[in-house]
């Protein structure tokens, strides 16, 4: 669960893995690389889509600073 003022967002199993990689240093590309390495069975394009769609959503809610 991602908790922020006045609300919380229930996360699926992959979202926390993405969030842990948002360290202010890594690029989106870097996040995708790291996930692709860890989950070597998964298709890189699918990972990229998941990461982009999640980051876009939390960015729109003001939960991500870029």
């Amino acid at each position: 669960m991602l908790v922020f003022p006045e609300a919380a967002m229930m996360l699926n199993e992959t979202a926390p893995e993405i969030l842990k990689l948002c360290d202010g240093e890594r690029t989106v590309e870097g996040i995708v690389d790291s996930l692709a390495q860890r989950f070597s069975g998964a298709d890189r394009t699918v990972i990229e889509e998941d990461v982009m769609s999640f980051l876009t959503r939390i960015k729109a809610r003001g939960l991500l600073e870029t």
Binding site: M1, V3, F4, P5, E6, A8, K59, A60, R61, G62
Partner: protein, 373 residues
């Protein structure tokens, strides 16, 4: 009905406050309730809240900064993995305190701002506070906290919404809450002076919509509607004692800020029982869980799962029966009460009652009586 999982606790650490805001949500009776919970009692309560599944803790008041043990309380709440939000008026803050809170792990600060116009801001707060609040807002940002600015809207400031939005953006707030006054406690005492006119509300809503789109992704703008002007009541608290609770400075566990006005309900204190027991067994919390208590027109209404019949406190305060349909609802047989209040607001009234000890004592005499009928 089995108790649901609570997510949010509002801990009102104290009723002490240097401000005297006309719309304060603290009980009108606050001056008689001085026996605050100890540090240990609050810490145990935070642990119990986390055990119940709570994830979010609002440290509120009064002015929570008054509590000398606030750093300790923040540290303990963080150790229970609670997301901690300090709800403050800001006037008692300084850099040293803010640094200490930050070191203890405070996650977020919500600062109240009364207006962009100094004169009105200080008229509403009842004390000089305008410059100090701006100074503190800047300091909060300098120290790296995420900041929500909260503005309670009413007829004296609602036309300043464009300036309030610009100011919040300039201060670097991540979030701006523009909340129309909810008429309970002190706000109900001051209702005629505070209620906006229909024309004012019609002007502000498109401005908010436009600003929301413009600031999307940089500053979230939350807008709480003026419920008297809605056709249907608000889904108050997402349902009575459903996922939210307020704990008063003396330890009473309420489903919202206002429920202690309803006669016949008993709200247990964490002084006497652990929060884990109270949440499940309290007579007051169980009184309006589910929908068995509903009367017509709510009982057979398809909207009952959307708005739960509105607000129980408002039903009591305005219609004299906590189990009645919220009079805000256009289907309520007592909707005339709301229409009268709106008509009265169009005419206006200058009477202002400040939230202070003297007024608290005076008004407490007739507490527990429906006052707005």
């Amino acid at each position: 009905m089995a108790a649901p999982r609570p997510y949010t606790v509002v801990a009102e650490l104290t009723y002490k406050c240097p401000l005297k805001c006309l719309y304060c949500s603290n009980t009108v009776n606050f001056n008689a309730m001085r026996d605050e919970l100890s540090t240990e009692q609050w810490m145990r309560t935070f642990s119990d809240a986390a055990a119940l599944g709570v994830v979010q803790l609002h440290l509120s008041g009064g002015e929570p900064v008054v509590r000398k043990d606030l750093p300790e309380l923040i540290r303990h709440a963080r150790s229970c993995d609670l997301y901690t939000n300090l709800i403050t008026g800001g006037t008692l803050l300084n850099e040293e305190k803010l640094r200490e809170y930050r070191d203890c792990g405070l996650d977020h600060i919500q600062l109240s701002v009364q207006d962009t116009d100094r004169k009105t801001a200080e008229l509403v707060a009842g004390v000089r506070s305008y410059d100090k609040k701006l100074e503190i807002a800047r300091l909060i940002k300098t120290l790296g906290f995420p900041l929500t600015i909260n503005v309670v809207l009413h007829r004296l400031n609602i036309e300043h919404v464009p300036a309030l939005i610009a100011q919040a953006a300039e201060l670097g707030a991540q979030r701006l809450e523009l909340a129309n006054t909810q008429y309970y406690a002190w706000a109900l005492e001051n209702r005629t002076a505070l209620m906006p006119t229909t024309a004012q509300l019609d002007l502000v809503e498109p401005i908010v919509r436009e600003a929301r789109a413009r600031y999307q992704g940089t500053m979230e703008i939350a807008y709480v509607k003026a419920d008297y002007y809605s056709d249907y009541p608000k889904a108050c608290m997402g349902g009575w004692a459903n996922n939210y609770m307020v704990i008063t400075p003396t330890g009473a566990v309420l489903p919202c800020h206002a429920a202690d006005v309803i006669p016949g309900l008993h709200f247990d204190s964490v002084r006497d029982q652990p929060l884990t027991t109270i949440w499940k067994e309290s007579q007051g919390l169980n009184a309006f869980r589910g929908d068995d208590w509903m009367q017509e027109p709510c009982r057979s209404c398809p909207r009952k799962t959307i708005d739960f019949g509105g607000c129980r406190c408002q039903a009591f305060l305005l219609a004299g029966d906590a189990a009645a349909t919220d009079p805000v609802c256009s289907l309520s047989p007592r909707h005339d009460i709301i229409q009268d209040a709106i008509a009265q607001a169009e005419r206006g009234d200058g009477r202002l009652i400040y939230r202070d000890a003297r007024n608290s004592e005076r008004l407490s005499i007739r507490l527990s009586e429906p006052i707005a009928r």
